[in-house]
């Protein structure tokens, strides 16, 4: 057992904070408490399935005050009758079998929970409990106490029940049922047709096959008829037209054949075709049920906030019921839900997600606050100016860009090919008909229908779904989650890349700190560190983590003036740490964020906080620069210009102080110039730009947490692979093109049979599955090969 890591959560243990309990090491009291809870309730199996599966429980007590409100609870429940209530909660920490085990055994921790079931892919748990004995709030608190805190946002509150659409599964089932049985029943006729017994029972078999084909023809294939009809009406040439045509012709010809006794018909190929097409459709749909690409601001907002009544009492009120003039209480790390004015003396608001400014903004009493910012620091009081729907943030979302359903921004490659395919097909069919009509009418009809049957672009239509479906999976394993197959085609066409700065090419996890001034000795550094320990300011935290030294010294005097600095006395020395306005002797440059140090009234130096850029950024950009135009947009100020110019290739355009609307407009201008733009961003301030661009990628440090509407979500740890992902998309399109060639080859061979009047049902029944299987194997092998060649799996050195 690794004694440096916590037994419960697996994180490193700081020796001073270590807790040893029951002969195991824990990093903090929280982890040890969860261990205790499990051990008392005889649930130690939790640790058997995975190593260190736990998470440190958060201890934010007041967060769930809104669950006391019955109206809110009612909206969050799935079911509420009599004594039973059922709720579905999303729990981001679900990641392994231990999680499934503990969440399905909740009834052992709390006997009023009747049952619970986990959906691993969606990271949800459905809990059924006795509503008279326990409330939702207590259940949520229980989950919080064992480290499985649910993620409840405004989205859950407003979500309407979506009925799962299973029609494709049903259609596939029907298609397979018909196909399998018809294949079996067709075998006798493939082989010797001259056996007497066969002659006798031929009709029985044929009509049975006919009956079996009906469900497949009339039910399973309906999507194709509908799409083909729509595309004829709108005069586009989709691939569904020749498919639908092929299916209908096959059915008609086969029925005619068995009615007049010409042959056994092509029912086997017909149902086989329908089955493979539906299989391809199903394969192309790869949904990541734990992600949502459609998020809007509602999934970023909390359900309720604390309102201060006129008599001073606090109550929890749903976000939509906030009115102008209300007073709200916002705690540390809580979101400001509406535009308003700060009443408290000071506030430190983190707008990084909304406007892209990397560090918290100091506000004083009377300043205007905008919705979407997060308070970092002590509790503040604010007065509401606008209701939620009228706040700046919501106005941003109402921008027309989000409303337009951009489905067919782009013609898929399959439909592009079908523009040539369909006319060519009809030409050959009519040519064949025209040739044979002078010789024999029956052969002419034979040939006409045979051409339409054998050239039915089954393999052609399956190429793209199978290739793209496979690539979707490959990329998903590398934590690059695409919304749908169309995104891959769009990725391959991109020629300009636009990157956001804050949060996208910088990581919010660390900041690079540089010290300028008189060097301090170890003792002095130890004083600084111990003074910082008591401060809550985010900069203090970061600085504290960077400084070395483990000795604990108590401060004699400590005073923190919010957002200005700290004044303290330690071991007889006077220490002052803070902003340039706090320490008069400092010379402040407002563009850089710095923390100044004064010891015993002598100015010592300052720590400058620089953005930490993501690993591999320079290599990534120089690689991308070869094929793409790169631009960087930032909501931040110009302070970083020199650093960026050093990091990035020459000629990369850098634009600062961009408001969200300006980012959107910038992309629109590029598109008007005819460019195909890919936007990479992370926050709400990029949302407009992400929607406007041809492909929008959202970079996320934690994919479980909100990211705005986009076409793809990229885990921040894989950021440096963007150039490889782009190359992969191009290789995917190459695979599709090669495989188109292959499938056309099959079509040509089949056509040779058809045009000469030699198309036997047996031949069709062989060509069709053969071509399908060859194409499917080919594209799967090729796409996997390309993935390996591009070294998508490489870990950073």
């Amino acid at each position: 057992m690794d004694t440096d890591k916590c037994f419960h959560c697996g994180l490193d243990i700081v020796k001073q904070d270590e807790i040893i309990f029951d002969e195991k090491n824990f990093c903090c009291n929280g982890c040890k408490t969860v261990y205790e809870i499990f051990s008392i309730n005889d649930m130690m199996s939790y640790y058997d399935f995975e190593k260190s599966p736990g998470a440190t429980p958060s201890n934010n007590d007041q967060k769930y005050g809104f669950l006391d409100n019955e109206k809110i609870v009612e909206k969050l429940l799935d079911f509420n009758e009599g004594q039973t209530q059922i709720v579905s909660l999303q729990i981001p920490h679900i990641h392994c079998s231990s999680c499934i085990w503990i969440l399905e055994n909740l009834h052992r921790l709390q006997k009023n929970i009747t049952s619970s079931q986990v959906n691993f892919h969606e990271k949800k748990v459905r809990i059924s409990y006795n509503s008279e004995a326990i409330s939702l709030k207590l259940i949520v608190k229980l989950l919080q106490s064992i480290g499985y805190e649910p993620y409840i946002t405004l989205d859950n509150y407003e979500a309407k029940k979506i009925n799962t659409d299973r029609s494709l599964t049903y259609k596939l089932g029907v298609a397979f049922f018909c196909f399998g049985n018809i294949m079996l029943l067709s075998f006798p006729e493939y082989f010797d047709v001259n056996e007497f017994w066969l002659d006798h029972y031929k009709n029985f078999f044929r009509w049975l096959i006919f009956a079996l084909s009906l469900p497949s023809f009339f039910y399973s294939a309906t999507d194709y008829y509908v799409i083909a009809y729509k595309s004829i009406k709108s005069r586009t040439m989709n691939i569904e037209i020749p498919i639908a045509l092929g299916i209908i012709v096959m059915f008609v010809r086969s029925t005619v054949d068995i009615v007049f006794g010409y042959g056994q018909g092509f029912f086997d190929s017909l149902t086989g075709l329908i089955f493979f097409m539906l299989l391809g459709k199903m394969f192309q749909i790869k949904t990541y049920s734990f992600l949502s690409f459609e998020r809007d601001y509602k999934s970023y907002f909390p359900v309720a906030v604390t309102r201060i009544m006129t008599d001073g009492t606090e109550e929890s009120v749903p976000v939509h019921e906030i009115n102008k003039g209300d007073r709200l209480l916002i705690r540390n790390q809580e979101l400001i839900p509406t535009d308003g004015i700060l009443i408290s003396e000071n506030g430190s608001i983190d707008y990084s997600f909304v406007t892209g400014e990397s560090l918290p903004v100091t506000k004083k009493s009377g300043d205007k606050l905008f919705a979407g910012g997060r308070q970092s620091g002590s509790i503040i009081e604010m007065e509401v100016l606008n209701s939620v729907s009228h706040s700046y943030l919501t106005q941003l979302w109402s921008n027309a860009v989000f409303q337009k359903k951009v489905e067919q921004k782009h013609k898929t490659i399959t439909n592009t090919i079908s523009r040539y395919f369909t006319p060519a097909l009809l030409l050959i069919a009519f040519a064949g008909f025209g040739f044979w009509i002078f010789i024999s009418t029956t052969t002419a009809f034979n040939v006409f229908t045979a051409v339409l049957i054998v050239a039915c672009p089954c393999a052609l239509a399956l190429t793209a779904p199978f290739t793209l479906g496979n690539v979707l999976r490959i990329l998903g394993k590398k934590k690059f989650y695409l919304k749908n197959a169309l995104a891959i085609e769009q990725l391959a066409k991109v020629d300009t890349l636009v990157f956001d700065k804050t949060g996208t090419i910088t990581t919010s996890k660390k900041a690079k700190i540089v010290y300028e001034g008189t060097p301090m000795n170890d003792e002095q550094l130890l004083w600084i560190k111990n003074v910082l320990r008591a401060s809550n300011h985010p900069l203090s935290r970061i600085l504290y983590d960077t400084l070395q030294g483990n000795k604990r010294i108590e401060t004699d005097l400590f005073e923190e003036i919010p957002n200005k600095g700290i004044s303290a006395k330690i071991q007889g020395h006077k220490i002052k740490i803070g902003s340039s306005t706090f320490i008069q002797k400092a010379n402040g440059s407002t563009l850089q964020t710095s923390v100044h140090i004064e010891i015993d009234e002598i100015y010592v130096g300052k720590y400058i906080f620089n953005n930490e850029y993501r690993d591999g950024l320079s290599e990534l950009f120089s690689d991308l620069n070869k094929d793409y135009e790169i631009k960087v947009l930032s909501g931040d100020n110009e302070g970083e210009r020199e650093v960026l110019e050093a990091l990035l290739p020459r000629g990369t355009e850098l634009i600062f102080n961009q408001k969200p609307e300006q980012k959107l407009e910038f992309i629109r201008q590029l598109q008007l110039q005819g460019k195909n733009v890919m936007m990479v961003g992370d926050g709400l301030n990029d949302a407009g730009a992400l929607a406007q661009s041809n492909v929008g990628i959202s970079v996320s440090e934690n994919v479980n947490v909100f990211s705005p509407a986009c076409d793809a979500i990229l885990d921040a740890t894989e950021f440096y692979k963007i150039s490889r992902f782009l190359k992969m998309s191009k290789k995917a399109m190459l695979t599709i093109k090669i495989s188109f060639g292959l499938s056309l080859l099959y079509n040509v061979v089949g056509l040779l049979f058809a045009v000469t009047g030699n198309l036997l049902p047996l031949v069709a029944a062989i060509i069709m599955p053969l071509s399908t299987i060859t194409i499917i194997s080919f594209v799967t092998v090729m796409s996997n090969l390309f993935a390996r060649k591009l070294k998508l799996s490489d870990k950073k050195k």
């Binding site: 005889d42 199996s45 079998s97 499934i100 085990w101 399905e104 079931q117 986990v118 959906n119 691993f120 892919h121 969606e122 799962t164 299973r166 599964t169 049903y170 089932g173 049922f177 049985n181 029943l185 007497f196 017994w197 006798h200 029972y201 029985f204 049975l208």
Partner: protein
């Protein structure tokens, strides 16, 4: 012609029965899909590997004996 029939007429019956059986299975498939069984196809594979604890035993025998049984099962599995 009759003499050459060789009683193959039973094939009508056989094929009809097999179709009926196939339809029964098909109906079961539809029912399963409708009940949402296939909406989550991953979690059941994990759930299957969990040990069943003896909850009933504790009701009949009382705490101490259940503890003994549980330790016995645990040692057997390990």
């Amino acid at each position: 012609m009759r003499t050459q029939n060789r009683g193959m007429s039973v094939i009508y019956l056989l094929i009809s029965i097999s179709i009926v059986v196939a339809i029964v299975f098909f109906a079961a498939f539809i029912k399963a899909v409708k009940s949402g069984q296939y909406d989550d196809d991953y979690t059941p594979s994990v759930r299957m590997l969990f040990d069943d604890e003896l909850v009933k035993a504790s009701k009949d025998l009382g705490e101490k004996e259940t503890g003994n049984i549980k330790t016995k099962i645990k040692t057997k599995i390990i």
